[in-house]
C-alpha cells in the first residue's frame, strides 16, 4: 500500500534540490572571478527506498508501493583534476625559478654592459690605445706616459665599480631570499592553521565531502608554495593536506613539525644556504629557492664549499676578479715586477692580498713616475738580474772612484762609533784578529763621507800625485741608466703586445685561455647565453603553465552559459515540481472531498 502523502514528500525534496542547485549555480556565478575558486555542483541521485526492513505499511508481495520516491542529493562537490594541479605546480616552479634567475642575471648584465654604456672592453681598449700612443714617444715623455697611467686608473676604477655593484646585487638578492624564506615560513604556519580548521569542519561532512572553500584556500597556498620548489601534495582522510618539499614533509596535517625553513647566516658563511628545521639541507631541483641558491652561490668552475657550478653572481664576481688579477699579473710580470716589486703596475689596495676587481689599483710607483713603464729591462750579466732604465744599451762601463767596504766598528761607551785620528772608524776584529767586513755596504768617515780606496806605495802609504794629494783607485762598473734616452720605447710595446697574447690563462681552473679582449667577450657571451638559456626555459614553462591553467579552468572554472542553462533548467524543474504538488493536491481533494458524495 502506497502512503497517501508519499508524492508530497518526494516533491518537497525535489523543490529543495532544485532550490539548492539554483543556490550552487548562484554561488558559481558569484565566484566566477574568485581566485582559486573551483566550480561546485550538487551531487543528485535518484531515491530508492529499500524493502528489506519492516515496512508495515508496505505490500509484502512486491515493492511497488515504495517505488517512485524522486531524487535526493549526497552533497556539494568540487570539480578538480589533481593531475592537472600536479603538472601545474611542476611548471610554475620552473617558471618562477627562471624568472628569478633572469632577474639576477639581467641585473649583472646591466652592470657588465659593453653595448649601451662604456664598458670593460672600451676601458681596456682605451688603456691599449694610451700605451700605443706612449710607445711612439720617447720613454721619458711624461705627458703621454701620464695619459697611459690615467687610462689604467680608469680601468681600475671601472673594475672597482663593477665589484661594488656586483656586491650590491648580491646583497639585494640575499635579502630577497631572506624575505622569501620568512614569507614561506609564515605561509606554512597559515597552512597548518588552515589544516586545523579543515579538520574541524570536515567532521560535519560525509566522507567524500568537505569544506570546499577551505580546500580552495589551501590549494591557493599550495600553488604559491609550488613556486619556491618542487612539492608533492597529499590529502588526508580528515581533509587536511600534507606537503612535501625536496623530500621533506614541511606540512604534515596539523602536526607542528618541520614546518620551517632556515637560512644560514650569510654574513658568516658567505653562501646562501637553506636547511629544514630537521637539519636536512634544502636541495631542490626547481623553484625560486633553487634559483636564489644557484644565483647567489653559483661560482662556475671556481665553486667551493657551499657553492655550486652555476654561473651566478659569485661566478661573475670571480670572473671579474680573474680579469683584474690576470691583467695585473701579466702586465706586472711583463714589466718585471716578478724580480723587482717596484716595477708593479697594479697592486692590491689591501696589503698582502691577491688582486681582485675590488682592490685593484695602479701602484704608487707608477703613479709617481708614469714613465716607469718606459724604462727598459735589460739583463745585467754582472748581477745576473734584469735591471731597468731608459737606455736599453747601457752596457757602457762607467769609471768611478772605488770606495772602501764597511766593516764592523768598535763603539764608545755611549754606543757611538769610535773613530781614529784620521776620522776613520776603528775596526772591530774577530777572534782571529781579522776585520769583519759588511758585504754590500760602504765605509763612511766621521763626517759621513764615503772613503775612497787610495793607491798604495810598497810601504803601504798612500801614493801621492804632483799636488801631494792621494790618488784614488778607480773601478769600472757596468753602466746603468746613463741619462740618455732612446726613442725605442720597447717595454711599452712589450706591454701592449700582452693585450694580443692569446695564451693567457684566466683563473686557476682552466676556465678560459685567450687574450684580455677574448676574455671580456667570453664573460659577456657566457652571461648573455646563460640569460638566453634561462629565458627560453622561462618561455617554455610559461606556455605550459598557461596551457595548464586553461586545462584547469576547463575542468574547474565556471562557465557562464553552462550556469545560465542550469539556472533555466533548475527553474523549470522547480516549476514542474510545484506543478506536481498542485496535481497531487487536486488528487487528494478529489479523494477527500469528492469521494462518497454521489448525489450531494
Amino acid at each position: 500500500m502506497r502512503p497517501t502523502f508519499l508524492g508530497f514528500e518526494t516533491q518537497r525534496r525535489t523543490l529543495m534540490l532544485a532550490q539548492k542547485n539554483q543556490d550552487i549555480v548562484g554561488n558559481n556565478i558569484s565566484n566566477i572571478n574568485t581566485p582559486g575558486y573551483t566550480r561546485q555542483r550538487v551531487d543528485i541521485y535518484s531515491m530508492y527506498v529499500s524493502g528489506l526492513g519492516e515496512p508495515r505499511w508496505s505490500s509484502r508481495s512486491n515493492m511497488l508501493s515504495m517505488q517512485g520516491q524522486g531524487a535526493n542529493a549526497y552533497g556539494v562537490s568540487q570539480i578538480r583534476d589533481t593531475y592537472i594541479d600536479k603538472r601545474y605546480r611542476e611548471n610554475v616552479s620552473i617558471e618562477s625559478e627562471t624568472e628569478t634567475k633572469i632577474n639576477v642575471l639581467s641585473d649583472i648584465e646591466d652592470i657588465l654592459d659593453n653595448f649601451e654604456t662604456t664598458g670593460l672592453q672600451r676601458k681596456t681598449q682605451d688603456f691599449w690605445n694610451a700605451l700605443q700612443d706612449y710607445s711612439e714617444e720617447k720613454p721619458d715623455s711624461t705627458e703621454v706616459a701620464t695619459i697611459a697611467a690615467n687610462a689604467a686608473v680608469n680601468l681600475c676604477r671601472m673594475l672597482n665599480d663593477y665589484s661594488s655593484q656586483l656586491k650590491q646585487v648580491e646583497d639585494t638578492y640575499v635579502n630577497e631570499l631572506k624575505d622569501n624564506v620568512e614569507y614561506v615560513n609564515k605561509m606554512l604556519n597559515e597552512m597548518r592553521e588552515l589544516n586545523e580548521r579543515i579538520e574541524k569542519e570536515k567532521f560535519h561532512y560525509a566522507e567524500e565531502y568537505g569544506p570546499n572553500e577551505l580546500y580552495d584556500e589551501m590549494n591557493l597556498y599550495i600553488d604559491e608554495l609550488g613556486t619556491y620548489g618542487e612539492i608533492s601534495v597529499h590529502q588526508n582522510a580528515n581533509g587536511t593536506y600534507d606537503v612535501t618539499m625536496g623530500g621533506v614533509k614541511i606540512l604534515d596535517g596539523i602536526a607542528q613539525k618541520n614546518s620551517q625553513i632556515i637560512m644560514k647566516e650569510y654574513d658568516i658563511y658567505g653562501t646562501a644556504e637553506l636547511y629544514f628545521q630537521n637539519g636536512q639541507d634544502v636541495i631542490l631541483t626547481r623553484g625560486s629557492f633553487k634559483a636564489y641558491q644557484d644565483m647567489i652561490n653559483g661560482n662556475g668552475v671556481y665553486a667551493a664549499g657551499g657553492q655550486n657550478s652555476n654561473y651566478g653572481i659569485a661566478y661573475f664576481k670571480s670572473a671579474i676578479n680573474m680579469f683584474a688579477r690576470t691583467v695585473a699579473d701579466t702586465l706586472n710580470t711583463a714589466n718585471g715586477a716578478d724580480n723587482d716589486s717596484f716595477r708593479a703596475m697594479f697592486v692590491s689596495a689591501t696589503e698582502d692580498s691577491l688582486i681582485t676587481a675590488g682592490n685593484i689599483r695602479v701602484s704608487d710607483d707608477w703613479l709617481e713616475d708614469p714613465t716607469m713603464i718606459g724604462k727598459v729591462r735589460y739583463f745585467n750579466e754582472k748581477t745576473g738580474l734584469y735591471e731597468y732604465g731608459f737606455d736599453e744599451k747601457s752596457d757602457t762601463p762607467v769609471t768611478k772612484i772605488k770606495y772602501e767596504q764597511a766593516y764592523e766598528t768598535e763603539t764608545n761607551a755611549d754606543g757611538s762609533i769610535k773613530y781614529d785620528a784620521d776620522g776613520l772608524p776603528v775596526p772591530k776584529k774577530d777572534a782571529n784578529g781579522n776585520i769583519v767586513y759588511i758585504p754590500g755596504s760602504r765605509l763612511r768617515d766621521k763626517d759621513n763621507n764615503l772613503v775612497p780606496v787610495y793607491e798604495k806605495n810598497a810601504d803601504g802609504s798612500n801614493k801621492l800625485d804632483a799636488n801631494g794629494k792621494p790618488i784614488p783607485v778607480y773601478e769600472t762598473v757596468d753602466g746603468t741608466a746613463s741619462g740618455t734616452v732612446n726613442l725605442q720605447n720597447t717595454n711599452v710595446k712589450y706591454l701592449f703586445s700582452q693585450f694580443d697574447n692569446k695564451n693567457i690563462e684566466f683563473g686557476y681552473c682552466h676556465d678560459f685561455t685567450g687574450s684580455y679582449f677574448e676574455y671580456i667577450s667570453f664573460i659577456s657571451n657566457r652571461l648573455g647565453q646563460t640569460i638566453e638559456y634561462e629565458t627560453s626555459r622561462n618561455e617554455t614553462a610559461k606556455v605550459t603553465v598557461d596551457e595548464l591553467l586553461d586545462s584547469r579552468d576547463s575542468v574547474s572554472g565556471v562557465q557562464m552559459d553552462e550556469e545560465g542553462i542550469n539556472m533555466l533548467n533548475y527553474s523549470k524543474w522547480y516549476n514542474a515540481s510545484s506543478r506536481m504538488l498542485t496535481t497531487l493536491d487536486d488528487m487528494l481533494d478529489k479523494l477527500i472531498n469528492g469521494t462518497g458524495r454521489v448525489g450531494l
Binding site: 653595448f115 768611478k400 657571451n525
Partner: protein, 727 residues
C-alpha cells in the same frame, strides 16, 4: 574543452601583453637605433659585435700610427731631396776646383765652399721634426751629427753620435742603431723573452744617419796623443776596430813605453775574444801612439760616459788626413831626398838617403832609420829622449809621420836647401820650371831640355841666373811665365820642352871654418842673395839643421841666421843659446862647445818622396770635408777622386729616396687597406648592431595595428552569455 571566462580573459590579457611587449621592444630598437642593448638579447651577434668593435678601435689606432709614420717619412724624403741638391752643388764645386790650375788662394775659397756645404748637409741631417731628430736612429739626445775641427780650425771629422763615421763600415755598429718602430697592425711579433720586435711585423720610423750618409773607409788608424797623457791619471776611450767597439781604460804610465804597454795590454784584453772568433787582427798601438789593426778601420774617441777619467787628445786618421808617409815605391836607392817637415808652426827641411838593400823590408826600415835620424837632427828629442817627430816602423803605419801634440805636415822640398846644391828642383804639371832661388851663385848646372844639354852658371841674383840660362839655351825661347822666381820654361816653336834630366855639376860647399876652440865661422862672403842655406849645428846632444836665407846685405844674413838658431835651440832665459856675430862666428852663450858643418845636399828628383794617406771615406759628408782639405793642401788628385765618389753617393742617395718613396707607398697602401677595412667593419657593425629601420618600422606598424585591433576587440572579449537572452 570547456572554455571558461577566466580562460578567455587570461588568454586575451596574455596576448595583449605580449603584443605590447613586442611593440615596445620594437619601438626601443627604433629609438635606440640598436638591434640589441644587452648581449643576452642576441648573444651571437653580441659576440661578433665585440670583435668588430675591437677591430675598429685597433684600426683607428693603427691609422693614427701610420699618419705619424708618414709625417716622418715625408720629412725624411724632403730632407734627402735637399741633400741631393746639395751634393750636386758639391760636385760642381769640385769639378770647378779641379778643372784648371788655381793658386792656393783659389783652392782655399773652394775648400771653404765645400766646408760650408758639408755644414749644410750636417744641418739637414740634424733636422728636427716635432722634437725628434729624424736621422738620429733611436736617439733623440741632441744632434746626431757633429763636426770636429783640426788644430788649424778646418773641418776634419764627421761624427755620428760621437763616433767618427769612418770608424765602422757597418752602420749597425754605431750607437742608437736600433730601429724605432710603430705597430701598424701587421701583427706585431715581440719576443716574450728578449722583448725584441720582429722588424717585419712593424713599421720602422727611424732613420739611421750612418746608413744614409754612408760609413766606413778602406782603413784608418787612430792617433793617441801620448804626450797629453799624465802619469797616474785614468783614461777611458772607446776604440772601434773592424766595427767592434770596446771601451778600454788605462792609467798613464811614468814613461811613454809604459803607457804604450798599458794601452796595448788593455787593447789585447778587450779584443782577445773578438780576435779569436772574428778573425780580427789585434788592434795595436805603435810607439807613436797610433792604434792600427791590419786591414781594418780603427778609430778612437774619448768615452763620453766616463766622468772621472781624464780626456786625452785623440785624432782619427781614417780618410784624407794630415798623416803623411814616405813613398817607398817612388824612391831610388842611394839617392838623397829632401823633404820639408812642418811640426806645428815649425817647418824644417831634412835630407835623407834612400837605403840600398835587396830585401825590400830591410831597405824600407833602413830608409826609415835615416829619416828618423834626420828628423831627430832637425827637431830634436824631448827630455825623455823621445823624438819629437816620429816616423813609424810598425808594419801597418810604416813610414807615417807623427808628432807629439802637434800636427805634422810633410811635403817634398820646394826649395833646394843648403849651400851645396847639386841640382835644381824640377816640378810642375804644366810647364817645367827651374827654381832660380835654389841655384847658387858661381855653381855650374846642367839641365837636359828635350835632348839638349844646357849648362849654365848660377848668378848672384835670380835675374842674373835667368840671363845666364837664356844665354846658354840657344834655340829655345826661355820665359819666366808666372813672373816668379821659380818658373822658367823652355819653348821651341810652339811647344814647351820638358826638362828631363838634371845633371849635377861638381859640388862645392859653404865655407865653415873651425875657429879657435869650439867655435865655427860661417863664410858670409860666399853666401848669395835670396838663396836658402842650411847648416848643421851640433850643441851638446842636440843636432839641428838650421836653414836661413841669404842676403846681399851680410848684416841681414847674420840676422836671418840668428833667427833660425833661436828657433832651433831656443832661449836660455833671456839669451839665445847659440849666437852668431857680425863676422859669422858661431858661439854659445854658456860657453859649451858647438860644432857647425855645412849640409850635404842630395839630388832631388821629380818623383815625390812623400805621399799622403789617401783613403776615401764612404761617408759623403766626410768625403766633402776631405776634398776641402785636399784642395787646401793642393792635392788635386785626391779632390778629383772625390768627384766620382760624390756622384756615386748621390746615385745611392737617389736609391734611398726611392726606398723612402716605396715606404710611403707602403704606408699609403696600409692606410687605404685600413680605411677599406674600416668601411667593411662599420658595415658589419651596422649589420650586427644597428637597427634595420625599414624592417623595424614595418614591424612596428604591424604591431601597432595588431595592438589596436586587439584593443578594439576588448569590448567583446567577455562574450555574451545566455543571460543576455533569457527573460
Amino acid at each position: 574543452m570547456r572554455i571558461t571566462n577566466p580562460t578567455i580573459l587570461r588568454g586575451y590579457n596574455r596576448d595583449l601583453n605580449r603584443l605590447l611587449t613586442q611593440k615596445t621592444a620594437c619601438e626601443r630598437r627604433i629609438t635606440s637605433t640598436r638591434k640589441f642593448s644587452r648581449a643576452s638579447e642576441a648573444p651571437l651577434s653580441a659576440a661578433k659585435a665585440l670583435n668588430v668593435r675591437r677591430s675598429l678601435y685597433n684600426s683607428e689606432q693603427w691609422q693614427e700610427n701610420l699618419k705619424t709614420a708618414n709625417k716622418f717619412y715625408t720629412e725624411a724624403e724632403t730632407s734627402l731631396l735637399q741633400v741631393s741638391d746639395k751634393m750636386a752643388e758639391i760636385r760642381e764645386i769640385l769639378v770647378a776646383a779641379c778643372n784648371t790650375t788655381k793658386d792656393s788662394q783659389d783652392y782655399a775659397i773652394y775648400a771653404e765652399q765645400l766646408e760650408n756645404s758639408a755644414k749644410k748637409l750636417v744641418s739637414i741631417f740634424n733636422t728636427d721634426s716635432a722634437g725628434r731628430a729624424i736621422f738620429g736612429g733611436e736617439s733623440d739626445n741632441g744632434l746626431p751629427f757633429t763636426l770636429e775641427n783640426d788644430s788649424s780650425g778646418n773641418l776634419a771629422t764627421v761624427l755620428y753620435h760621437g763616433v767618427p763615421v769612418n770608424s765602422m763600415s757597418s752602420y749597425k755598429g754605431f750607437p742608437y742603431s736600433n730601429a724605432v718602430t710603430v705597430d701598424i697592425g701587421l701583427g706585431m711579433d715581440i719576443d716574450q723573452k728578449t722583448q725584441e720586435v720582429d722588424p717585419q711585423s712593424v713599421l720602422d720610423i727611424s732613420f739611421n744617419g750612418a746608413k744614409i750618409t754612408g760609413c766606413g773607409a778602406e782603413k784608418g788608424t787612430a792617433d793617441i796623443n801620448l804626450e797629453s797623457i799624465k802619469v797616474g791619471r785614468k783614461y777611458c776611450i772607446d776604440v772601434y776596430a773592424n766595427s767592434i767597439k770596446k771601451t778600454i781604460e788605462f792609467t798613464g804610465g811614468a814613461t811613454r813605453e809604459e803607457t804604450v804597454d798599458t794601452i796595448n795590454n788593455a787593447l789585447k784584453a778587450a779584443y782577445s775574444k773578438e780576435v779569436a772568433y772574428d778573425k780580427l787582427k789585434q788592434p795595436t798601438m805603435d810607439e807613436c801612439g797610433v792604434i792600427y789593426s791590419d786591414g781594418s778601420i780603427v778609430s778612437a774617441v774619448n768615452n763620453e760616459y766616463s766622468t772621472t777619467a781624464e780626456k786625452l787628445v785623440v785624432d782619427n786618421d781614417a780618410g784624407y788626413t794630415n798623416k803623411f808617409k814616405l813613398n817607398f815605391a817612388s824612391m831610388e836607392e842611394n839617392k838623397i831626398y829632401s823633404i820639408d817637415v812642418t811640426m806645428g808652426e815649425i817647418t824644417k827641411s831634412i835630407k835623407f838617403t834612400a837605403a840600398n838593400d835587396a830585401d825590400p823590408e830591410t831597405r824600407e826600415n833602413n830608409t826609415i832609420k835615416n829619416v828618423q835620424d834626420a828628423l831627430d837632427d832637425a827637431f830634436g828629442k824631448d827630455v825623455n829622449g823621445h823624438s819629437l817627430v816620429h816616423i813609424s816602423t810598425n808594419p801597418v803605419t810604416k813610414g807615417c809621420f807623427s808628432a807629439e801634440g802637434a800636427v805634422v805636415k810633410v811635403q817634398d822640398s820646394m826649395k833646394m836647401t843648403g849651400t851645396n846644391v847639386k841640382g835644381a828642383t824640377v816640378y810642375s804639371k804644366y810647364f817645367d820650371q827651374i827654381d832660380l832661388v835654389k841655384l847658387n851663385a858661381g855653381n855650374t848646372y846642367t839641365i837636359k831640355v828635350g835632348t839638349t844639354d844646357i849648362t849654365f852658371q848660377g848668378g848672384k841674383t835670380t835675374a842674373e841666373t835667368l840671363n845666364n840660362i837664356k844665354a846658354a839655351a840657344a834655340g829655345f825661347t826661355v820665359t819666366n811665365p808666372t813672373g816668379d822666381k821659380q818658373s822658367v820654361s823652355f819653348k821651341t816653336g810652339d811647344d814647351y820642352e820638358t826638362i828631363s834630366e838634371v845633371k849635377n855639376p861638381p859640388s862645392g860647399s859653404v865655407a865653415i871654418t873651425p875657429t879657435k876652440g869650439s867655435t865655427y865661422k860661417v863664410d858670409l862672403a860666399s853666401i848669395g842673395e835670396e838663396r836658402e842655406y842650411s847648416i848643421k849645428v851640433i850643441y851638446g846632444n842636440r843636432a839641428k839643421v838650421v836653414s836661413f836665407e841669404g842676403s846681399a846685405d851680410t848684416a841681414k844674413t847674420v840676422s836671418n841666421i840668428q833667427g833660425a838658431l833661436s828657433v832651433a835651440f831656443g832661449l836660455d832665459g833671456v839669451h839665445n843659446k847659440i849666437n852668431i856675430d857680425d863676422e859669422g862666428n858661431i858661439t854659445t852663450y854658456d860657453g859649451n862647445p858647438v860644432a857647425v858643418t855645412s849640409m850635404e845636399q842630395g839630388s832631388d828628383k821629380d818623383a815625390s818622396a812623400v805621399q799622403r794617406d789617401k783613403i776615401y771615406s764612404d761617408n759623403y759628408i766626410q768625403l766633402t770635408i776631405d776634398a776641402a782639405r785636399a784642395l787646401r793642401d793642393g792635392d788635386i788628385d785626391y779632390a778629383n777622386g772625390c768627384i766620382d765618389r760624390i756622384v756615386d753617393a748621390n746615385e745611392h742617395l737617389l736609391v734611398q729616396i726611392a726606398d723612402l718613396g716605396c715606404n710611403e707607398d707602403f704606408i699609403d697602401f696600409n692606410l687605404e687597406k685600413l680605411t677599406t677595412r674600416d668601411l667593411n667593419l662599420m658595415e658589419r657593425q651596422n649589420d650586427l648592431e644597428v637597427t634595420d629601420a625599414e624592417k623595424e618600422i614595418t614591424l612596428w606598424k604591424t604591431y601597432e595595428a595588431l595592438y589596436n585591433a586587439c584593443l578594439q576587440m576588448s569590448s567583446s572579449v567577455v562574450p555574451n552569455s545566455i543571460f543576455n537572452y533569457i527573460k
